[in-house]
Amino acid sequence: MLELIDTYWLYFLVGQYPEGPLGGLALTILLSGAALVLAMPLGLMLGIARVSTHRAIGLPVGALVQLVRAVPLLLVLFWVYFFLPAVTGIKTSQTATMLIVLVVFDSVYLAEIVAAGIRALPKGQLESARSLGLGYGQALRHVVLPQTLRHGLPSIVNQLVSTIKATSLGYIIGLSEVSFVASQINTLVFTQAVEVYLILALTYFVLCFGLSRLAFLLERRLQRRPVAAT
């Protein structure tokens, strides 16, 4: 096992980089982080739209959320992978394809986190902000969203965990993230499947378990310091 790690650790961490494109664990982490960050503005907008009192805005967004949550990520990945190049005429790389799909899924799940956070906030917060003369947009930006996001932070970290786990699906379209690289190593070595896949599982475990512990600690800290005003 040590020999295995000694030979392939660099390939496992960064793929063929710097001779080829970045891959391996680095790609997994970068892709998940980038997807979550890019999804944030979209998720915020969708979340605010979801709690809108105008049914014409709230309903379509609700339908979109239901739709995305009812189909597997893999299916959307296949749609984008096979059809986006045909529609746009540009060949989309595996990395870009995966990023697009992750951003779509993350923004929908973030929207749910934001919407749940806004609904959980006492109504008086928005009402008093409005009665102090702030417009709806200002009240959201200065009063509602800061509190919502602070309380939603643990959920957002958990969403990062889900995103990291979801990047593994890139394996199926040949994206050279860490699962794909592990399979490549398994093919090269051929006789040590148990070791290779245990190392892969352990890598994900360390990453995801660490982040979920962080989310848990954040949650505890937030509970200790509740919002005074209700």
Binding site: Q66, L67, R69, A70, V71, P72, L73, L74, L75, F78, W79, F82, F83, V161, I164, K165, A166, S168, L169, Y171, I172, S179, A182, S183, N186, A193, V194, V196, Y197, L198, L200, A201, Y204, F205, C208, F209, S212
Partner: protein, 232 residues
């Protein structure tokens, strides 16, 4: 060649492939669910037990399984696990549809620990006095858990368990990675054989949507019909 030709979905070879895929996806869901629910209930009981080693074992199971993506589970069970088996058992596995067996193992474990967490929060929602009252009425520990605690806990857990079942249904698509011929696999097969990807993926999308929405609809109905009663 028409842009969208619905006839290939109505009859013929591609129709058969897609239908076989749908059938296997449903079978994978049902079989994995049947194993995952008892497994999840067991882990949940372990995690809420009074014995510290049992609680630790339950927590280790849950954390080690759910912090690894399903795809990595599938790769492990399909490519690595058979290596660990003795020769004779490996042959039995390879003769009996190893893709499906390994997919069921991985899906059961992955979905089972998520169900365990749903059941656990259901158990925690039952006030401790319920169990104490049952015990003081003369019920043994096992009887009190079985007759008083679990029925109440399950009632609170049914809606999250159903949404977990939706996840299980969607997760069967990942089994395509080890070549289990479920719906995603068959849709990709149709696309390779005929370039009829639009029809094949439309079929798969509608099928996934329909089943998911049916299960979430059931969860919604259950919640309306049997709202959680809080025992005071």
């Amino acid at each position: 060649m028409a842009l969208f030709d619905p006839t290939i979905l109505q009859s013929g070879q591609y129709h058969d492939w897609l239908l076989q895929g749908l059938t296997l996806s449903v079978q994978l869901t049902v079989i994995s669910f049947a194993f995952a629910l008892p497994f999840g209930a067991l882990v949940a009981v372990m995690r809420t037990s009074t014995s510290k080693p049992l609680r630790a074992a339950g927590a280790t199971l849950v954390e080690s399984i759910r912090n690894v993506p399903l795809l990595a589970h599938l790769l492990f069970w399909y490519f690595a696990f058979p290596e660990l088996l003795p020769e004779s058992m490996r042959e039995i596995l390879y003769e009996n549809n190893p893709e499906v067996i390994c997919a069921v193992i991985a899906l059961t474990l992955y979905s089972g620990v998520h169900m365990a967490e749903d059941i656990r929060s259901g158990i925690r929602a039952v006030p401790a006095t319920q169990l104490e009252a049952a015990r003081s009425l003369g019920l043994g520990r096992v009887a009190a858990v079985r007759l008083v605690l679990l029925p109440q806990a399950l009632r609170a857990s049914v809606p999250p368990l159903l949404s977990q079942t939706v996840n299980l249904w969607k997760d069967t698509s990942v089994a395509t990675v080890i070549g289990a011929a479920e719906m995603m696999y068959q849709a990709a097969r149709v696309e390779t054989a005929s370039f009829r990807s639009l029809e094949a993926f439309t079929f798969a999308t509608l099928a996934y949507l329909t089943v998911s929405l049916l299960i979430s609809g059931a969860a919604h109905l259950y919640q309306r019909r049997y709202p959680v009663r809080t025992a005071g």
